[in-house]
């Protein structure tokens, strides 16, 4: 390893050859401002287009300023990150960017959480000397994501996430010069594209060019309507991240406070998606065992591996790109939808409620869940099983606007019966969790023996693609895990080519699984936050007395009282689904 | 077409082809070369100027003399056709009249090679075509 010595702002620093000025400065605790650079270390994504030019620094002997994010250090280099020349250039460039940006900060969705706004404050911009044309585009309201390209600053982070990380390829830079912007093909709306609504573009957007559809106003209306019974379910990953919005350390679990806050907000029942996660394991685990045993018995009809189907971004992805493999994923609905279906049948009956008088809301770390709620197959007579979904970020905003002192809230418990869950359900929130939960149950159901060690360390971690073999008492089950759709694509291509050795694969669209979802508090490029959330999730699992889904007493009761057994006719009707080929073929817009 | 397989092949081919463009190359740098113009007006052609021009071109090449032979219109000496104007490097042009093959041969051997003057030089009050 070759070391290089250089001077930054009159201080010497030694770095590895190949290190950029930006990183080297970090070693000296000098943060060079930037609007486009993004380094998602754990995901092997370093986005450094060198486009915003905010990070320019002065390098002695160089004719023009150098972008710190893209310039490699060299021996004896003398760098000034805050000289007058740099400050003037940086501020002028920022003024230029703002001169092509709306001035509606007061009512902007990202106000207070906007990189551009922060930068304007930091560099003390008070006046924009350049009055001129501003780019304007037609806003795009899809079921999950709003694109307001007037606010795009061409950092191109979304493009990197959509193309390089997710390989969804919906977003591309289009046109050139002042007209250049990021858009789907033919500037069609996202719902006319192959967008999976994974929301990773939203998660990295520095401004409000990409935001989620906001459902908080609708929620406030419904909560204040006394004729409605409003039921809420909270996804496992939310509790591991919500605290961040209130200044708590990443990785702080706030399950109890979250429940308390939801109650204060006026929900009639505060339930847990974790309950439905346990239910998912029952259905999906049964399906896995069924397919596996048919396969072992030589049934040529059955297709393996079985793929998890909890993640709506992932479901859309294979509906668009792998229509030939529609019979491969599990038919089990996602926990959100299982919850909705049970809430509006089993629970409604118990409460003697008409489903039309019920509002089922989900709190999700996800924006694709917003879209999932709107899928036609998840409704009865036009009444959706889950009325709508709000993101972790929206919930935080709601709590703040209700003037609730979140940090001071006492811990409270979920309501029963749809609030009971096991540790297996909690880990749904992180990559590898669903398959670990399934393994715990499938093992015991298959072998009839109790699992001594429930922690499958081999299935955990942050690698994009992981695999492990679990021995089911003589039967080796090969398990694959992928998070990020680009990684999923690799596994899927193998399945398509008939080369896959796996029996079961878990796929999550977002980095780290749901903890890194598009609806979570923004990580601003710091992937260590995702790891902290994952740690919190496993801690919650460990703290539970029950850690296997089939031991959840309320699940057992649900089958006894209502569904019969996993895979029953009623279970199929309420808890399973089917998939559609979605490939867009030569559509023409009017 | 056959492939050129070696540098020698290439050079051979070049020497064969060179005559095609040699005239153009020479004309680019007339300085230092012998310039010869043959009067090719109607009467010149009638009195055999074309044959004289061909003879000069062939013979100059055979005798390795770096010259540019071009044709020009009537030089105005119809009494002495065919006429040939020779300009040696850095010298004034001289016009020869009644040039036949024998005289053409003399022009090359005596005047061009050795600067010897011959009979039949048209007096110096000529005009070259440029000045006409």
């Amino acid at each position: 390893m070759e070391l290089i010595k250089l001077t930054i702002d009159n201080r010497t620093v030694e770095v590895e050859k190949g290190t950029t000025i930006f990183i080297a400065a970090k070693q000296l605790d000098i943060t060079i401002p930037t609007l486009c650079y993004m380094n998602l270390k754990d995901l092997n994504i370093e986005h450094k287009p060198g486009g915003c030019r905010i990070c320019v620094v002065e390098v002695e002997g160089r004719r023009n300023l150098a972008p710190a994010c893209a310039t490699e250090c060299s021996e004896g280099m003398v760098v000034k990150t805050h000289s007058v020349r740099v400050l003037n250039a940086r501020r002028t460039v920022l003024e230029l960017i703002i001169s092509d940006h709306p001035f509606d900060c007061l009512i902007c969705a990202k106000s207070g959480n906007c990189d551009l706004q922060d930068m304007a404050v930091k560099l003390g911009v008070r006046d924009i000397p350049f009055k001129g044309e501003k780019s304007t585009y037609k806003p795009d309201f899809s079921p999950a994501i709003i694109r307001d390209m007037d606010k795009c600053i061409m950092c191109r982070r979304c493009e990197t996430m959509c193309n390089d990380f997710q390989t969804v390829g919906v977003l591309s830079g289009i046109h050139r010069g002042f007209e250049a912007v990021v858009a789907p093909a033919f500037e069609r709306d996202l719902d006319h594209s192959e967008c999976t609504y994974c929301g990773q573009c939203v998660a990295v957007c520095p401004t409000a060019a990409l935001t989620e559809i906001d459902h908080t106003n609708q929620l406030i209306n419904d909560l204040s309507d006394s004729s409605k019974t409003v039921v809420v379910q909270t996804a496992p990953a939310v509790r591991a991240a919500l605290g961040e919005e209130f200044g708590m350390e990443p990785g702080t679990l706030v399950t109890g406070k979250m429940v308390a806050a939801l109650r204060q907000l006026g929900f009639n029942f505060v339930f847990d998606t974790d309950f439905a996660a346990d239910l998912t394991i029952m259905e999906e685990g049964t399906e896995l065992l069924d397919r596996l045993s048919r396969h072992l018995n030589g049934d040529k009809e059955v297709r393996l591996p079985i793929l998890t189907s909890c993640c709506p971004g992932w479901v859309s992805f294979f509906e668009y790109h792998y229509p030939d493999l529609l019979d491969v994923p599990s038919t089990a609905r996602s926990p959100q939808q299982m919850f909705g279906a049970i809430a509006k049948t089993y629970f409604a009956e118990k409460q003697k409620l008409n489903r039309k008088d019920m509002i089922v809301v989900s709190i999700m770390p996800c924006v694709a869940k917003k879209y999932e709620c709107t899928r036609e197959e998840f409704a009865t007579d036009g009444n959706p099983d889950v009325d709508y979904s709000i993101s972790t970020r929206e919930l935080a905003k709601l709590i703040k606007s209700a003037n609730i002192d979140f940090k001071a809230l006492p811990d409270e418990d979920f309501d029963k019966p749809l609030g009971e869950s096991t540790g297996a359900a909690v880990i749904f929130g992180t990559t590898g969790g669903v398959i670990e939960a399934a393994t715990r149950t499938a093992y015991e159901l298959h072998t009839g023996e109790e699992l001594e060690k429930v922690d499958f360390e081999a299935l955990r971690g942050f690698e994009g693609i992981r695999s492990a073999t679990v021995n089911f008492k003589g039967l080796d089950v090969n398990i694959g895990i992928a998070h990020g759709l680009g990684n999923a694509r690799k596994l899927l291509d193998d399945v398509r080519a008939g080369k896959s050795e796996y029996h079961a694969i878990e796929i999550m669209a977002c980095p780290g699984g749901c903890i890194g979802g598009g609806g979570q508090p923004l990580h601003h490029g710091d992937t260590s936050i995702l790891k902290a959330r994952a740690k919190a999730i496993y801690a919650e699992d460990e703290g539970k007395t029950l850690r296997k889904s089939h031991l959840n007493p309320d699940i057992i009761k649900l089958y006894d009282e209502f569904l019969g057994k996993p895979g029953s006719e009623l279970a199929h009707k309420l808890l399973h689904t089917h998939y559609f080929e979605k490939k867009i073929k030569h559509i023409s817009m009017d | 077409m056959t492939k050129i397989k070696s540098l020698a092949d290439l050079k051979k081919m070049k020497s064969e082809l060179q005559s095609q463009v040699a005239l153009r190359e020479k004309s680019e740098t007339p300085e230092g070369r012998v310039l010869i113009r043959v009067g090719m007006g109607t009467s010149g052609i009638a009195s055999g100027a074309k044959q004289i021009m061909e003879f000069l071109i062939d013979e100059l090449e055979k005798r390795n003399i770096d010259a540019i032979v071009s044709q020009t219109g009537d030089m105005g000496y119809s009494y002495a056709e065919p006429t040939v104007e020779v300009t040696l490097p850095k010298q004034e042009p001289i016009v020869f009249g009644d040039v036949d093959q024998k005289k053409a041969d003399d022009i090359i051997e005596k005047y061009i090679k050795n600067g010897e003057l011959l009979d039949g030089i048209i007096p110096a009050n000529y005009e070259t075509i440029d000045k006409k």
């Binding site: 092509d100 010069g177 | 070696s6 190359e25």
Partner: protein, 597 residues
């Protein structure tokens, strides 16, 4: 083989092609045949002679008779008179507007006198569609010498010693570039010829490809051998159909002769060439953008390093040179680095091709030794300003260059001198302007180009140039203040200082150089709300000069918006509210009765 006594060279470049050069060529051939002269007279379509102002051109060899503005119907007379009777067709000879006389041959034309043609040596000399003519003109000899008698290191050294610098704009030493690429080891390397000439007003690369395509191929083989690449790509503008056509013919012929392909000349070295098409993006002249474009991507540049020599086309070491640079290579090899470096100035060796255009008498393509002065180029080669007007400025370096003035006329032209006076060599566009050109409008024109051609990747270029253009527009409308000029200068400097690629790093040059050299003109627009050259529409008005108007009605009849009223033989009046300042009245008035105020 026929031994021709006379060669008729017809310019077959795009410029002359456009003005019926093709038909002229065919007519000449037919006339020669009809007069049974096919064994005496050879008619050849060559590349560009450079004297585009007066195309189509026919040059008759050996007497170098230079016919200009020849029409297809003139073929008969040329053959009958010149080929048969040896008499030049005087009416077609070039008339020198300065000397006021007809010039009998090219050797006496001021346009050619100070030129030195190295890169253009074969343009206008040989038939570009016939490889034999190229071979006859020493073609592929340099390649043979390199492949069989030199090591790659020796070839690089020769180029390095010659002092040749990239002719595409940057002026990076070519030999050094080759050396860097040669030192990066890889299983595959590439040699790329940049023929995506995008400078409006520069067309030397096109002319070379049209007039002498083999020289580029030959140089690319040499380049490939020197750096260890076996594949060559030519990235050429799709808007150059004739150049593409001739290049394709050249490639086919070279392959047939085995001068491209495997085991070239028995050297054991393999090399072949493919053509890639540009699609109309100026920024693709930047080498990283060009490479992305060849890979089927948007032509957006990326930050260097990594340089293409490290990671270029498909991630492999790639050497990119422009057409004119390549055209110098075979001559450097045959005549030697010493010969080449004896031409030019201390740090800029050899010659440079310029596309001379604008308000100048002899528009065309010229090649001159480095170190020649702007005055020599404009007033001797270019024949001075059109219509006897006064010289005002010369813009070099294309849209990224600067406007130079009277005081720079005696500056010897080379890379460094042009930079030091606030302009640049660029690819060699040279646009001459006269007293009628407004410098604010000129700067605005160039910015309009940059705004249109910016790729949009980096903020200063994407937004900054747009703002520069808007500011200039405000100035040209008389709505700016002196403080705006300060902002304009600061913004220009910041764009230069912070942009990602050469496009943005140079795009403010026209603004800065016009501000430096024509500050008074800016002040006039800003303070007096006046356009001294009478160009900026919002600051001028057309008025009828009462004492000159005879009431001929010509102006009123020609006014497209009918804003001029007046009875016959009465004074006419322009309605300022309706006038669109189209200049039609002024052009039509025979009595000098319309004035721009």
């Amino acid at each position: 083989m026929a031994k021709y006594k006379m060669h008729m060279l017809v310019c077959g470049g795009t410029g002359c092609h456009a003005s019926e050069g093709q038909m002229l060529f065919e007519n000449l051939k037919k006339e020669v045949q009809d007069n049974n002269l096919e064994n005496d007279v050879q008619v050849i379509a060559t590349g560009c002679f450079g004297f585009c102002e007066k195309g189509p051109i026919v040059k008759v060899i050996p007497d170098n008779t230079f016919y200009v503005s020849v029409e297809p119907k003139d073929a008969k007379e040329i053959v009958a008179e010149h080929a048969l009777k040896g008499r030049a067709v005087k009416r077609l000879l070039y008339f020198d507007p300065v000397r006021k006389e007809q010039i009998p041959d090219s050797k006496h034309m001021g346009f050619y006198k100070k030129q030195l043609r190295i890169a253009l040596r074969n343009c206008g000399m040989i038939d570009p569609e016939n490889i034999n003519e190229y071979l006859a003109a020493d073609g592929y000899e340099a390649m043979g010498k390199v492949l069989l008698e030199m090591t790659p290191e020796e070839a690089i050294k020769e180029v390095m010693d010659s002092g040749l610098r990239g002719r595409g704009g940057g002026g990076f030493p070519t030999g050094l570039k080759w050396q860097i690429a040669s030192k990066n080891h890889a299983d595959q390397k590439y040699v790329v010829c940049n023929a995506d000439e995008g400078d409006p007003g520069a067309f030397m690369d096109r002319s070379i490809l049209e007039g002498d395509p083999h020289t580029v191929l030959e140089a690319m083989v040499i380049n490939g051998y020197a750096i260890g690449a076996t594949k060559g790509l030519i990235y050429i503008r799709a808007e150059y159909p004739l150049a593409i056509h001739r290049l394709k013919i050249a490639i086919d012929q070279a392959r047939e002769y085995g001068l491209l392909g495997t085991d070239i000349l028995g050297s054991g070295f393999d090399f072949d060439v493919e053509i890639r098409y540009g699609a109309g993006a100026f920024v693709c002249g930047e080498e990283t953008a060009l490479i992305h474009s060849m890979e089927g991507e948007r032509g957006e540049p990326t930050f260097k390093p990594p340089f293409p020599a490290q990671s270029g086309y498909l991630g492999k070491p790639t050497n990119v040179n422009n057409v004119e640079t390549y055209a110098n290579i075979p001559v450097i090899i045959t005549k030697g680095a010493k010969w080449f470096s004896s031409i030019g100035t201390e740090k800029s060796k050899g010659t440079k091709v310029f596309a001379l255009a604008g308000k100048i008498n002899n528009v065309g393509l010229i090649e001159v030794p480095m170190g020649i002065t702007l005055r020599e180029v404009i007033f001797e080669i270019g024949g001075g300003i059109q219509g006897g007007k006064k010289f005002k400025a010369v813009q070099t370096g294309g849209p990224s260059g600067g406007c130079l003035t009277e005081k720079h006329l005696d500056t010897p032209i080379d890379f460094d001198n042009l930079l030091s006076v606030g302009s640049m060599m660029g690819s060699g566009g040279m646009i001459v302007m006269d007293e009628d050109d407004c410098m604010v409008a000129v700067a605005k024109f160039y910015l309009e180009f940059t705004v249109e051609e910016s790729c949009g990747k980096c903020s200063p270029c994407r937004i900054g140039n747009k703002r520069l253009h808007e500011q200039l527009d405000i100035i040209s409308k008389g709505n700016a203040t002196e403080k705006d000029l300060d902002n304009l200068r600061n913004l220009s400097n910041v764009i230069k200082d912070t942009s990602l690629c050469g496009l943005g790093q140079t795009s403010p040059n026209p603004v800065l150089s016009t501000m430096d050299n024509f500050w008074d003109e800016y002040l006039a627009h800003v303070n007096e709300k006046r356009c001294p050259s009478g160009v900026c529409k919002d600051l001028i008005r057309y008025e009828v000069i009462a004492e000159n108007c005879v009431g001929c009605t010509a102006c009123a009849r020609n006014c497209p918006v009918n804003c001029i009223s007046g009875e016959r033989k009465q004074l006419h009046v322009i309605d300022q509210a309706l006038c669109i300042k189209c200049n039609a009245c002024l052009e039509k008035c025979k009595f000098n009765a319309i004035a721009v105020i």
